[in-house]
Amino acid sequence: MRAVLAVARKELTAAFTTPVAWAVLMVIAFFSAQFFNGALDAFRFLSLRALQLQNPGLLERLSLTERVVAPLFGSMGLLLVIVAPFLSMRLFAEEKRARTFELLLTAPVRPWQIVLGKYLAGLATLAAALLIVALFPLLLSFYATGTQGGAGVEWQTVGTGLLGLFLLGAMAMAVGMFVSALTESVIVAALVSLLFLLSLYVVTLFTIGMEGPVRELVLALSASDHLTSFLAGRIELKDVVYYLSFVVLGLYLTDRALEGTRWA
């Protein structure tokens, strides 16, 4: 465990000394603010329309969580998939390029300790990004109240949404780390994992007009489809299993990739 933490700490120090992590956090902050504003505007427009229509029932059913937080988190899912490869690209490719890989592999540690240390550091950066996203529901809760009094933001739904985003990010990080372990080029690592993750995320586009088992299969494979119940406030086992299996597979394959260098 000592070595795992040493690797994680080194990785975080390096990530926050170089501009990479900061740039990623900036991108997250900028776009989440834009998405938040957009969703808020849409909400305002909708509530004005409800007022004009003099339809108090509709007005009462308008939920900030559903109309603002969920769309924000939904957009952040796509954004996470896009930025995660840039957080994971350096994990191993950079070590190979800079020849520091030799240091790691000649240290008295097992490959899984290195893998786990790097992965934990990746998750910590990811958590920092999600913290920024979580600021917006918090901001909302200062100004909003529910129709029957009480909180204007449903915290459970916010919580499950964040959990879903975290799992999605964890999956992206594990996949990206594996790709990074296969190449010496940071750019290749980022692009290949981006291609893979983005395809999984937008594969739902192909289900338009599809029917039957093929549609079911494509939806089951989609990284975005598994996020929907989290955003609606539900934690479903199949979704958790989907993300975690990518995490486990990614970690396992990375470990194998490192172990493989001992044999080839």
Binding site: L5, T17, W263, A264
Partner: protein, 269 residues
């Protein structure tokens, strides 16, 4: 301390090391000599457990590098050809990281870092980013890393590259001071360095062992009848070019050696 038997390493169709066998006793300082591409770095990488051997066995302190890598790695301090330093960390952060990797006992870490920093003369740069340091300092940070934890065996791949003459002398003194307690294998192109620091010299060419002997043994064998002192470096150059450049001389030396280098010293005149 180090036993290498019939070591062969191939990269696809390129043979980097072929049928290399030698032994290094505890406390010896052995110099690896050979032209570029002779297989020095490859051999050292295999010794350190970074590369697997295609065939043959390597044992360090009685442990097989392939079967018990952790036991071997615990006993080795390794400085690769390119110093494995991170430009985004300061030497202090870097050495802390290495101490964690090597699993040094926590209370001892600060003292140990101070010790190796002094040995490698890192005072004054410990809090600067490694990326902004000169090549010589980066090399010394790498050296400090290898010394961390006081390992029994040190494998130093060209430890003096990028250093200025005075620093080279410091490293030479450092290596000399390690002899006896530590087993050191170092590679270099600089012949005076070998003459001054190493008790034994291992000459490789095109992946094969050409000769392995003490300095005195080499002189007796290859410059018979000449009296040379170790202060006189020219003799080593002569032996080296004889072994590496002259194919006839090398072939003759090899024929005289036979297969087992261990017996070579007795066989040779």
């Amino acid at each position: 301390m180090i036993e290498v038997e019939n070591l062969t390493r191939r990269y696809r169709d390129l043979v980097a090391v072929e049928d290399l066998s030698f032994k290094v006793e505890k406390g010896e300082v052995v110099g690896f000599l050979g032209p570029n591409g002779a297989g020095k770095s490859t051999t050292m990488r295999i010794l350190a457990g970074f590369l697997p051997a295609t065939s043959g066995t390597v044992k360090v302190a009685g442990f097989d590098v392939f079967d018990e890598p952790l036991e071997v790695k615990r006993r080795i301090g390794y400085l690769p050809e390119t110093p494995p330093v991170y430009p985004d960390l300061t030497p202090l952060e870097y050495l802390r990281f290495c101490a964690g990797l090597k699993g040094l006992p926590r209370p001892a870490v600060a003292g140990e870092i101070e010790r190796v920093a002094e040995l490698a003369r890192l005072d004054g740069v410990m809090d600067r980013l490694t990326g902004s340091l000169s090549k010589g300092y980066r090399q010394r940070v790498g050296l400090a890393q290898a010394l961390l934890g006081d390992p029994e065996v040190l494998i130093l791949d060209e430890p003096t590259v990028g250093l200025d003459p005075l620093q080279i002398r410091e490293v030479r003194e450092l290596v000399k001071s390690l002899a006896g307690r530590h087993t050191v294998v170092l590679s270099t192109h600089i012949l005076p360095e070998v003459a001054m620091t190493c008790q034994k010299v291992l000459v490789v060419n095109k992946g094969r062992l050409v000769d392995y002997d003490t300095l005195d043994g080499l002189i007796r064998k290859h410059l018979p009848g000449r009296t040379v002192t170790l202060d006189d470096i020219a003799f080593l150059e002569e032996i080296y070019s004889k072994l590496v450049e002259g194919p006839a001389a090398a072939a003759a030396a090899l024929a005289g050696l036979g297969a087992a280098p261990g017996t070579a010293r007795e066989v040779a005149p």
